[in-house]
Structure formats: C-alpha cells, structure tokens
C-alpha cells in the first residue's frame, strides 16, 4: 500500500467526533514519540513530558512519503512544539503542522487527551 497524503487532515478540538483509546501512557517514551494505528491511518503521538503536554500528527512525512515521523526528535522553536523527521530533519510545528525549515506541505495534527492514564487521540470519523 502506498501512503496517501489525502488520508490525513487536521482535526481541531471542536471537530472531534471519536476519541480513540490508543494505549496506556506507559507505552509512550518520555520526551519522544511513538506510533499508533487507527483505521487506515498511522498516527505519531508525542509525549512532551518536560512541558506536560501531548501532541499527535500523521506518521507520514510529506518529503519522501515515508512513515517515520514518530521516530524523530522533538523540540521547540520560538516556544512552538516541533518534531524533526529522522530522515532529512525537516521540522514541523506540532501546533499548526507547518514545515518550519522548508516549504513542504503542512502535516495534519490531531488533538490528544489523557484520561485515567490512557492516551486518547481525537478523530472526526
């Protein structure tokens, strides 16, 4: 199956119809990312332990269309959370999905909530 960028569209908090119970917090590394499967999507979930926040985005890097973003280093640039793709270090804002150090298409971001030590990711369907 060849990955398709159309599969991924940003979902805002207000647009969430399904809160998918992905996995317990313990499955996610501290200050890093892991990948979850939801229907036909691969979603990267990031645990910014230091800041106490969580983000989620598509696992598909739009540069060469590989499913690797969850394996990248997280960080911040001018106070905005970001992830750097492990292949070529293209950085993406985890708030807006924008490619910060280049002009690639923005990636899709999804809301995350934690309830009873479980990680939930919000989808529109």
């Amino acid at each position: 199956m060849i990955a398709n960028l159309d599969t991924y569209e940003s979902v805002s908090l207000a647009e969430v119809k399904v809160w998918y119970k992905a996995a317990p917090i313990s499955k996610f590394p501290k200050n890093g990312g892991a990948c979850i499967k939801y229907k036909d999507k691969q979603i990267s979930v990031f645990n910014f332990t230091r800041e106490g926040t969580w983000y989620a985005c598509q696992n598909l890097c739009p540069h060469k269309m590989e499913m690797v973003l969850s394996r990248g280093m997280i960080g911040e640039e001018n106070m905005e959370a970001k992830v750097a793709c492990p292949l070529h270090k293209n950085t993406f804002s985890l708030k807006t999905g924008e490619n910060l150090n280049g002009s690639l298409d923005a990636i899709a971001t999804y809301p995350v909530k934690i309830e009873s030590d479980f990680v939930y990711v919000g989808f529109s369907e």
């Binding site: 992905a22 996995a23 590394p29």
Partner: protein
Amino acid sequence: MGMKTIIVVGNGMVGYKFCEKFAAREESKHFKLIVFGEEPRAAYDRVHLSEFFENRDAKALEMAPLEWYADNDIELIVNERVTDIHRSKKTITTASEKEFIYDYLVLATGSAPFVPPIQGVEKKGVFVYRTIEDLEAMLSYAEEIKKSKPDGKAAILGGGLLGLEAGKAVMDMGLEPHVVEFAPKLMPRQLDARSSNVLQLTLESIGISIHTGKATNSIMGNGAITGMDFGEDDKLDVDMLVISAGIRPRDELGKTCNLEMGVRGGIVVNDKMQTSDPTIFAIGEVALYNQMIYGLVAPGYEMAEVAVNQILEQSDVVMKSEIDMSTKLKLIGVDVASFGIPYMPAEKGLSIIYENKTKGIYKRINVSHDGKTLLGGIMVGDAEDYSILHQMYLNNMPLPDNAEELIVGSRGEGGSAFGNAMDLPDTAVICSCEAVTKGDVCCSVLDNGNETIKDVAKATKATTGCGGCKPMVTDLIKESLKTLGKTVKERLCEHFDYSRQELFDLAKLKGITDYDTLLDEVGSGNGCEVCKPAVAAIFASLYNETANKQETIQDSNDRYLANIQRNGTYSVVPRVAGGEITPKQLMAIGRIAQKYDLYTKITGGQRIDMFGAKLHELPMIWEELIAEGFETGQAYGKSLRTVKSCVGSTWCRYGMDESVSFAIEIEHRYKGIRSPHKFKGGVSGCIRECAEARGKDFGFIAVEGGWNVYLGGNGGATPKHALLLAEKVDKETAIKYVDRFIMFYIKTAQPLQRTAPWLEKLEGGITYLQNVVINDSLGIVDELDAEMQALVDSYVCEWKEAVETPEIRARYTHFVNSEETDNNIEFVSLREQKMPKEWA
C-alpha cells in the same frame, strides 16, 4: 487619473528582476503590471542551468514561485508570445491574437542562441543550450545514444563561458565531451593565451577534450549527426552536438515597430534604458547600450533598476557609462575569474603573472605604468582573492609597493597584502548581482541588528545571486560585530548559549548526567534536534553510557542502534575487528541474512552490512548475531567505526609487522567510544600502505624499527591526508599518543566536526598537537590517559544490553497499540537481491 499599465515582454531573469524591484516600491500600487513570457514556465535561473542535470528539478531553479506573482498583484501570462507592438495606439498583440493596452512597455525579450550557418546543422542530434526544454531534449537524445553506444561522444560548438558549462552538462549526461572553439583560446573575451592553456590542461585532466582553432565546415551524417568536418581531412566523430557559439538579441519586436536598431541587431537604448520611443524601455540582452550587448546578468539587473526608477520618475537614476564585465565562476570545479581589462598591449600597462602548471594555477594582474593602479586581471585555478582584487579595481584603490604580493602572497612576516574588507570605502559594491554596497551590509548589522549571513541576506539580498561575495560578506559581518563589542560566538543553538567545549566542561564540573537537568541548570527553553544529539554525545564521552539510556535525545540512527535507510528500514552491521573473519562467522552471517531476507554488501570498513531489517526485526536479528558471538559494529554512531588493516607480515611477503593483530587490538580498545563525529583508523604493515592509513583519523604504518603515527586524515566531501605525529615508536607508545589525541579531540571539538577540520583549526596545528600529546605542554596527559582508560574499562555492547533488557526491546515495535507492522514498505528486486522501491 486611474491606474497606469506597464507591460513587460519577457519573463527571463532580467524581466523577472524588473518585476521584483518594481513590486518592492511603495508607488507600485498605482500601476498595473502584466508580464508575458514566451516559455511555458515562469522565470528561472539560466545562469545555473547546468544544475538541472544534477537534480532534474526545474522548480529549484525558479526565480520565484507562481504564487509570488499573484501575491504581488502581477499578472503573469506564460506560454504567450507577443507578436506586435502598435506604438500609435500603445497596444500589443499576442500570438493568440489578444490585444492589450500599455502606458509603458518594457522589452526584456533576451536573446536566442546564435546558430552558425554550417551545412548540416539541421540534422537530428544538434541542439542549442538555453532553455530547460533544450536540456530535456538533449537528455532524452543522450539516453537514446547511450542505449546503443555507452561510450557515445558529444561535441560543444563554442568554448566560451556557456560552451564550457555545456561541456560539463554533456559529461553529466554520460557522454564524452569535446569542446570545439574557433578562436585559438578558450573564453576568448576573459582569458589570455596562457591562462587558456592552463584551463585547458585542467579540463583535459578531468576528461573534457578541447579543440581550439577549429572552423567547422559541415556536419556529417545521414539524417542524424555522426561527426563534424573541419576541412582538409580533419574530422571529429560525435553522436550529438550542442551549439553555444554566442547569442543574438531577440529584437524582432523592435524591428517591426520601427524602433532604432543597432547595425548588427539589438534595440538601441539611452542611459535611461529608453528606446527611440520614450514610453518603451529595453533591458537585458536585447538592449544595445553604448554599442554593446551585455551578456551577463549583473548589468541586466542594473538596467532593470534604472528602468524601474525612470518609470517612477526618479530621473536621476541612470545607467553608468562604464559597465563592469568582471566574472567569477566555478567551471567543473575550476575557479575562473576575470576583471577589468584582462589583457592589453604594452602601451596601456604592464602585467605581473604567476603560472604554476603543476597545480593548474594562473594569476595575472595588469598594472598601470606608474605602478599605482590596478587595471584588470585573470585568475584560473585559484580565485580566492578575486573579491578583494575586484574591489580594489572598482574603487581605484592604490596598489602596495610590491604589487606582486597580491598574487604571490606576502613573503615578509605577518600581515596580508590586502588589508581586509573593512578598508574598502562604504560605496564599494560588494555584491554586484544585487548591487549591495559595503555600507549596506555594515548598516544591516550595525543599525538593524542582523547578525547572521542568513538575516543579512534576507534584509539586503547580498549573496543571493551567484554567491561569490559570501566570504567577503561573512568577514564584514564579523568585523562589524566586533566594533559593537560582540564576538561571533559559537553556540550550540537557541537553547544553550555555550560552545560544545564549554558545555562539555560544565556538564563534567557540575556532574550533570541527564538532558533535562542540563537544560534546567545551564540552558533555556525545551531543547531541539540540534542540541539533543550533541548533548547525548557529551554524556556518552563523560560517562560512557550507551545510547539506550536516554534514547529520546539520540540522533536518528543511535535511537534504534541502527542506520535508518531511506524507506524506514534499518541496516545491521556486526563488528569485524580489523577486517578479520572466520569461515564459521561468515556462514553465520550468511544464514541470518538469508533467514531475514536482508540485502548484503561488503563495506569500505572491511565488514558486512545487512539491509532491509524492519524495526521490529532488529532485536531478533541481533539476538541471533550475539548468540553467534558477534557484537555491535556501531556503524550508526558518531563513534569509532573500524580500524582497517592490510594483510601485513602474517602472510604478505612485504609486511614489516603484524598489521592485522595491531588493528584488531586497537579496534577492541576503542570500540564503543563516542565522539564529536565518527572516527576511523587504519594500520598498514609497510609503506605501500594497502590499508590507506593516511586517509584515516588515526593511522599506523610499520617501518624499520617501529611504527609511524599519523593523525587527522578524513575521507568524505573534503578529503585530507593525515599528518605525521611521530616516527618509529614502539606499539605501546603509539597507542598512548593516539589515546591522548582522541581524548583531546573529544573534549575540544565542535559538534559534528571531524578530526581533519579540527586539526586545521587548531592554533599551531600538528606541532601544537605534538607538544600536547608527546611533550605534555599543557600538563594534561595524565588526565587524558585516565579518562581514556575509564572509557576502555567500561565498554558494554549496547545491542547485548538492548536484547537482554525487556523494556529496551519493547521499543522496537512500529505501533504501540497493534502487533501489525508498517505496510507502507515496498521492495523491488535488484541483481538477485532486493532494494526499496524508488522514490517518486
């Protein structure tokens, strides 16, 4: 009043520059700007056309994306040729018979390649070199040729600037290039006979054949070209011909509407860039100014600037009468520069020439008779001094008494012959492509707070054209910051205001062992992908912790202890110290590779690499390898990689000592040591050097009575040979010296700095290093020895650690909520093995 309309005919580099400069002006909002381009694409960088061969990316050459035109309210109509100008009605008509009204017309139609009327020039396989479409046609023809003739040849007609660029393009296409030039020398306008010879020697040494003094009579072949005939039985067999024998202005529009034309073509303009009709301007290669057509982009840009100002009624901005035709370019890796009057008869001035054919260098400066003024110059092979000499020429700066020092270098003690860039007057134009002066650059730093090349480039546009002024702009920024009392500090990133060496010392001093604590105590913010791996390496060097401990601050490869490949699978490399392996070990690797269907290849480091392992398979593969007695080869780390060996005295009839044993011993000593960048060793059993030890960060060569020790060699993009540290020392001493060298490098290098650039930057170089490591000039060898021994004693195989620790093993899964694996990975077959499907 209403809006006035400006129509620009031509969307090449100069046509685009007009739009860019116009859009940047406040007053542009009172005008409507419509641009017509004949080519099917928006303006692109024709100067760097040959880059298209490297990456086939036309978009990368775009001057600006289509959105830029829309964002600036410019209507760009591509693929539409303007066919007529009706001056009385002030309208133009296009090829699709549409009519447009103008208040001002700017003709930037450029030129077309000149095709000499040689018999047979219409045959198949003959191309011109100007547009991306030309290049695409050449590429597909070349592919056709290579199918039947892998050693196909192509000729380039014309050995000027463009012809030599086309020569490189032909080489990149895989054909054998032959440059054919009518004049007796190459680049006849820029070079003299001697520099042309030097350039020819260098080009021939890289495989470009040069034929000067040749007039082509006819092109041979039946339908398609098979060769060129120069008369008197002088022939050249070729399969393709690229014509770049000059340009002719695209002045048809001027002719048909009766504008004043030059005798040999071109639309006549005054110093305001106006044609004989004051509402019609002409700029770029179509304009005839002072009886000349200027085929360089910098004068074209100046013309665009003048036209913009004239239309906006700034009538004092006019074209200078003296146009600077200086050029500096990098042709196929050879620097060629020419400025002022490159060559002249003796009545005009005298020349100082430095020619070194062994190095392919030629430098010439022409000096006035009284020795005070620089009239011009030529540089081939080394044009480092071009910027400053060009400035001296443009600003009429007085020459030093020993003018020859300008090209030979000062032979007295200290001081450069030139002074530095700060000595130039503020009006000196540093960047001629974008007309940025020294004053502009310094102001940008001093008044507007720009401190990096990136910010200054954004603010002033300097370095965004050909990039030739970058060294000078960098110097100006540094010097300007100095006057403000700010030194250019090497800091890691926005999160740590320290150099790597400072951070290393701080972490050690404060005994900090994790990243978050380091951020809290000496950093700010929350970190990023630049400082995390650098700090990870520092912790590794201080505490010899493996990459398993703080896995989320590790770089791409260390994170999973494997080299990530382009499709998200990984490669597996067990250690094969010194390149020595037993048949049993070979078969174990073979069995495991077959079991997991991995692609195998022997590496330059004399070991075996297995590709195509999916993330979840890594612990299983390594478990089997460890069971067979292997350990991690750490091919993924910024660490020791391998110690290469030649066969040495154990088997070789020339071997003076046991290079394999020594290499194995050393590789086991330094395995696991992480460093600012990867480092590699080599051990050769005699001076024939089959292990290429002098290309390594550290190398040993066996000689009569001991070992020679070499340090600081690197391969890679800028290869460097290692330098001799000590001769004829015994093995224990040799090891001690390298121990100290490695520790000293680890403590003082910048992030991702290899030993060669580190040694080059080390004040005092190899002599200083000898003093530190052999004579203990800094009094630190005991400390270095102890630190090295601590690392050696605490070695752990990180894959064994990972395999035996369930929570580390658990990291190796594609999904954390499913046992499924990534179904996005596709392989195709390649020569009995497999490879990832090609990227689109």
